[in-house]
Symmetry: C2
Subunit: 333 residues, 2 copies
């Protein structure tokens, strides 16, 4: 397995990207990491040589505020574009970046290309489920598209089901449609039309409408929604969790010695919660529906999230996720 | 001020509704509460007589699973419908219910009627802001409509600004459009079109796009969005906060004596947080854009939330919120 890594993308590139790659390369001997970026800068972080780390020099870098489509078209010598072409050409099997999300979407769609049967790729993210029934759930689309059609949501359901099955080992994963009520007749024009398609989709285990209130309680293995709503929900989960943890920290620190002592005694337990909520351990967001795995991790990613993302990509490659999906959509017609 | 109360709506009606009304009637002598519902059942909860509590018998009750529009049209003798007509006829000045939300929306729109200049009423909810800059923020529409138009969102901005100013005393409240990015060119077709209208709206202090990640940090006084996204975000905030508090409780209880002791020491501080997050103290959700205040509180509401909602309605009536809005929309053309 060969993974093309955009070593220059993200707030802490190339340092943390390289560190994460070293950790992964040491553990996964069956993976070769091909680092794209400024050779000097990458080599400065690589203290020793590793059999399964290669470097491909790329003169340019796409910045976080660069226009996505324009930068992909013009910066042909950038680490992201060169890495994407290496996947298109079959030299490498997956693309990983912590850089400009819009540019990565553009690179994925324009260079690597869509899978047959997929009209628009969607972004899939994995979240911890706080119920006992399941450890995680996946939501797609969390923001690749600002406007989705019923057809797109139906395709996301198939993609998400395959992901849940292949990567998380869930057999016959349940799929819920995010809606503003659980009854079948509820919803916007879009969600009502998507419901009809999902009900007819024989490749999935559709359980009907679900409400965002129940997501973290593990209401389903796969949640499908349009990219606008999914993005709002993703960021609301993040924002609410962060705000609450901040408030709890203040409550411990600003309420005198009694609270401080209580906080000290609870330190391990609260640390467990922080760990539970830290969904970077499930890897990055998958730009899903392309001919090869394209994974975006947080711009702020450090060694650990980079390592987890490579582990995730390895899981995708090892399980033949893309091959099985490609076959599904090809034999369907 | 006379408030028509649907005494039969909600999981704990009429008991808790009546209890909340008694508490409010004792404190607010300038408010007369007119309770609609089964006279016997209401009287059984009213241990004494209060000068400012009246009862109007209503034979029927709209149930939580009744079809909204049909029940409003057919159950003419229901507490909700009779209360709504009393507001339409000017006998009472506002309508309050903890009952069937859809039916209340229908009663508000079909019986009380829309304010001139408002195409579709929106549901406004008030949330705690966890920042120092502001104590609360309002979001509209959190679910009155499943499909909103740019025009609706623009009208919500005016409604929300007046609410923030009149009820929370914020001068020149800031308005943010919920979007999937903060840049002006971001968003769905809907949010991009809404942005243009909001930019031209001289009745509001528009600060541009905001992301749901920043809501609880108090990014603006008023957040406007379509009803589908607003509903998803409202329920995500609720669900995430509840799930997290549940996880914290388990962490304290299930991790041995050290954690239990820590939890004991932190009890007051964690109680403060629960109190901070309890947004029932800001009253119910306002079905906004009608000729009179129509307020929905949680179906599970008990004495305290009912009391707070009456306090909120009193604030709306006292501040001439509706009169000022009606004047605004009438003099605008």
């Amino acid at each position: 397995m060969r993974i093309a890594v955009d070593a220059m993308g993200g707030d802490h590139a190339p340092k943390e990207i390289v560190k994460g790659c070293i950790k992964a390369a040491k553990e996964f001997k069956d993976v070769t990491l091909v680092l794209y970026g400024k050779e000097d800068a990458i080599r400065a972080e690589l203290t020793e040589t590793y059999e399964n780390i290669e470097i491909v020099h790329a003169e340019e870098t796409i910045k976080s505020d660069d226009d996505p489509v324009r930068s992909i078209r013009r910066k042909k010598e950038s680490s992201m574009v060169k890495a994407a072409y290496s996947v298109k050409n079959g030299e490498n099997h997956a693309l990983f970046s912590a850089g400009n999300t819009g540019a990565l979407l553009a690179a994925g769609t324009l260079i690597i290309g869509r899978m047959k049967g997929i009209d628009r790729p969607g972004l899939l993210a994995t979240f911890p489920s706080l119920s006992n029934e399941r450890a995680v759930f996946n939501m797609i689309d969390v923001g690749a598209n600002s406007d989705s059609k019923p057809l797109n949501i139906d395709q996301y359901a198939t993609l998400g089901s395959y992901y849940s099955n292949h990567v998380h080992g869930v057999s016959n994963p349940t799929v819920g449609l995010l809606n503003n009520g659980t009854e079948e007749n509820k919803g916007s024009e879009l969600s009502k039309a998507a419901y009809k398609l999902l009900k007819e989709n024989t490749a999935i285990n559709f359980i009907g409408n679900v409400e965002s209130r129940d997501l973290l309680n593990g209401v389903a293995d796969v949640i499908v929604t349009d990219g606008f709503t999914g993005n709002a929900v993703l960021k609301t989960i993040e924002g609410t969790a962060l705000s609450l943890m901040g408030v709890i920290k203040s409550a411990i620190m600003d309420n005198g010695i009694k609270s401080k002592l209580g906080g000290l005694l609870l330190k391990d337990s609260l640390g467990d919660i922080k760990n539970l909520l830290d969904y970077s351990k499930y890897g990055g967001a998958v730009l899903f529906g392309l001919k090869a795995p394209v994974i975006k991790t947080h711009g702020s990613a450090t060694e650990e999230p980079v390592y987890h993302t490579i582990k995730q990509i390895r899981g995708m490659l090892e399980s033949n996720l893309l091959e099985d999906l490609i076959q599904h959509f090809e034999t369907r017609d």
